[in-house]
Symmetry: C2
Amino acid sequence: MRIGEVAERAGVSARLVRYYEQQGLIEPIRLANGYREYDESHVERVQRIAGLVQSGLTTKLVKQVMGLEDTIARDEPGCPRSVADALAAELVGLEAKIACLSRSRDTIRDYLARSEHAALLLEIGAEAS
Amino acid sequence: MRIGEVAERAGVSARLVRYYEQQGLIEPIRLANGYREYDESHVERVQRIAGLVQSGLTTKLVKQVMGLEDTIARDEPGCPRSVADALAAELVGLEAKIACLSRSRDTIRDYLARSEHAALLLEIGAEAS
DNA sequence: CTTGACATTGACATCAATGTCAAAGTTTAG
DNA sequence: CTAAACTTTGACATTGATGTCAATGTCAAG
């Protein structure tokens, strides 16, 4: 599929898809006419990138994390200590973000639950956690 | 305490503390000399604000969320349907961010666990989740 | 062939979060 | 009293993520 479709299905603008590519986060193949060609996996990937970026990771970091995923998928070997240290630091950062967001989520959920609009929680899937 | 101390203890720059104030996220009292004066609770609040901002919330959203917390703390009454809808939407957004970050966290954790630097996970507190 | 929808690249604009610098007042240590 | 360290306000710079626009090429339908 072409950029318009992948963008729409991933819920972002085509501009952003090109930007992600420019940042080295995604690599479509190029047709003879210069058009970018994507497949299903790219849609998922764009969604994932957008999600992480919206969660406060820079595209640079996203690249690292997703590079890891790819590495794992290919079951490749170890990394130098320095890289491991950086990843450990990143892990700590992620945990902090998650904790922070979780707290806000709980706050909002509690608030709605106590309000006269508690039914809203059922409409959206409110799995406890 | 003054801005320098609160900033240092919260791990951000004084500039940022002033910015948060400008965005209506925090309200120190003013001394006769014009200096801002903060207390312990402000340190916590600044940390919380910074955490949310780093997690991808805009200062505007942070304001809403923290406003809610304050409201709950004072055990105040309900809100109009429109507000509840907005909050429900925000809740969904938060869940998405959390899921996205959690996945990345797991990726990194798994990777490190399999690497020859698994010991790093013990150094940082790696609570399973 | 022509028209309309979509792509391409590249430049420029914008917005939020921050940094940085400057000029001027305040506090504190010596 | 004085110098160093801190604060204030305000302006300007920067960076990252996006939007938007323009000029041009491509493709598919009529």
